[in-house]
Symmetry: C2
Subunit: 355 residues, 2 copies
């Protein structure tokens, strides 16, 4: 059993903790919080051992009546790998602590690529993390782009990618963020940093990205153009993408017009927190014009990196094949909405660990 | 003097009426409304003669205490040209009425191109409307795309245009429209109808467009990619676009990050209704990567077609040159924000007619 800790039980950390908890080959040792807020309370209610991320804040948890098992240092002494889910930039500052405790560490995409030996995406760059001590799981947007570009590049060759990323202003719980009733070029300079980040996963892909931020909280939306090296027909591309197990092709019959109905669907089929781990691609939008492929896809910024973190743990700590790791992750979490949509049990069963 | 009427004193019609009213060679005979609502009241307060668009609704205006000068038929008998600013589809139904009264007619971009003899954009396709009886001024988005593509095509050659149109969900006064907190592929099929509409103005340009709708009301935002036939440097492209008098290059020093500050600027300099007749292009966003030009531009959906309607009237009713007509329109309205931004009088003077 791989002993795993999660440093930072926030938006990503809570989901990674849940995912680790249902893996047959992993044991969730505990999670950390800096403050005894509602998330700390929820972690305890879920039965997770809670550690104070900052040692001298232990009394605050006691005063709030929330039981803690120790501090981050105690957690680090008890795990093989720590998944850092702290806010951007904090992960890099934590790196020396992890090294001092001689634990492997996974960082999130908010950190610079230089924080780790390798950037990771299970579909496109699993082996780069094999046996590594410090690995960075790329951001939600980079994960979403890599998953769809990789099979296109392997099958047709990619000459150029141009993507406009219409980004949610903040997560649903981030009440302090904007914009309200506006669309912001963000960053206003073009190309944005997202393209170079994709190159940490797919170094040879020529990609220019543009970022906008809009008054929505639920998901990112990508307007994607891929100029291919050949001219496949639209039906072939749809079939190629449909075969990918972390891409969900939204069928026209589903009558899903945006993130609201997508997440309603996820909740209706029993997904924890209404999470969508898959890229959600409107099948109707997939179209090839000459060598230009276009599509719209939605990315759940809180969720799509969660299965990637699980696979990164296996790449770092085992010799399991990419295919076996991905299959285990998908099965235990219930990744794969197309099969879920057609399943009679509504997809609830995979949320129960089968070990 | 060209005698002009406006059929439909709504979002576009009220602005066209104001613009006609300050032209030295035009006389605003009157405007129509179907109902005696706040806009009808405002038309009278501005001193415009008001006509009932539907004859049998005359009593409703009398009951509301709003004076009317007659019906649409009376207005049509008194004008040389009628500017139809009715909701999409109504313009086409009105065409026979205009023909019966032997008046020239301008339609808006919500109508199919087949409604008129020619589609019009002052910068790119002025002469097509010369002497015509029925002309369609293309939509706000098509106007915005045509204005920026035309000089690029003339100067560098355009190999392909790919544009993602991030559209406002509704105008500020359209309280019944959405989305709230969502981003909708709209239409979900790609390419969207906007590209073919640009081809009514620039028939030889290869263009694919993608449409999204977001929870914002103030302006459309275009994420534009133009693959050029050569590799100009970024500075040259910026200068080329800066020279265009209906393009406003937002300087970095202005610290304008979105539509909110853009419209605040327009109000601060005294623009009627805070209108922005120009494409608003973030100068920092203009960048050439190889032969790929990128930029972000905002389009004020309520306003950018207004000067185009004025120029269309001159193309249909006079032999004035495109340059002279555009210059007169720009001077009388005060089009041109770059000069306005640097003018000591804050740009208020042009709103007064100088005839």
């Amino acid at each position: 059993m791989i002993r795993v800790g999660v440093n930072g039980y926030g938006t990503i950390g809570k989901r990674v903790a849940d995912a680790v908890d249902v893996q047959p080959d992993m044991e969730l040792i505990g999670v950390t919080k800096t403050r005894p807020n509602f998330e700390a309370d929820a972690a305890r209610r879920r039965g997770y051992d809670l550690y104070a991320a900052i040692g001298d804040r232990l009394p605050a948890f006691e005063e709030a009546g929330i039981e803690v098992a120790g501090t981050l240092a105690d957690l680090l002494d008890a795990v093989d790998v720590i998944v850092d889910c702290c806010p951007s930039g904090v992960g890099e500052r934590n790196r020396e602590i992890y090294r001092a405790h001689d634990v492997k560490a996974i960082y999130q995409g908010g950190e610079d690529a230089t924080v780790a030996e390798a950037s990771f995406n299970a579909r496109a760059r699993f082996e780069a993390a094999r046996g590594a001590d410090h690995v960075r799981v790329v951001s939600c947007n980079t994960t979403g782009l890599s998953r769809v570009i990789a099979p296109l590049d392997e099958t047709y060759g990619v000459e150029k990618v141009r993507a406009t990323l219409v980004r949610r202003g903040g997560d649903p719980a981030e009440t302090g963020r904007g914009p309200i009733n506006d669309v912001l070029p963000d960053p206003v300079t073009v190309p944005s940093h997202h393209g170079p980040d994709v190159n940490t996963i797919l170094p040879d892909v020529d990609i220019d990205t543009l970022g906008l931020t809009v008054p929505a909280t639920q998901m990112h939306t990508h307007s994607l153009n891929v100029t291919l090296s050949c001219e496949p027909d639209t039906a072939s591309v749809r079939e190629l993408l449909r075969e990918e197990d972390r891409l969900f092709l939204i069928p026209e019959t589903a009558a899903i017009d945006g993130a609201g109905k997508l997440k309603e669907f996820a909740r209706d089929v029993g997904r924890s927190r209404g999470d969508l781990w898959e890229n959600c691609i409107w099948e109707e939008s997939i179209n090839v014009v000459g060598r230009d492929l276009y599509l719209f896809q939605n990315i759940h910024q809180e969720a799509d990196v969660v299965p990637e973190n699980i696979d990164a743990i296996r790449a770092m700590c085992t010799d399991e094949s990419p295919a076996d790791s991905i299959a285990t992750t998908n099965r235990t979490l219930g990744v794969g909405l197309e099969s879920m949509a057609s399943r009679s049990d509504g997809g609830r069963e995979p949320l129960v660990a089968d070990d």
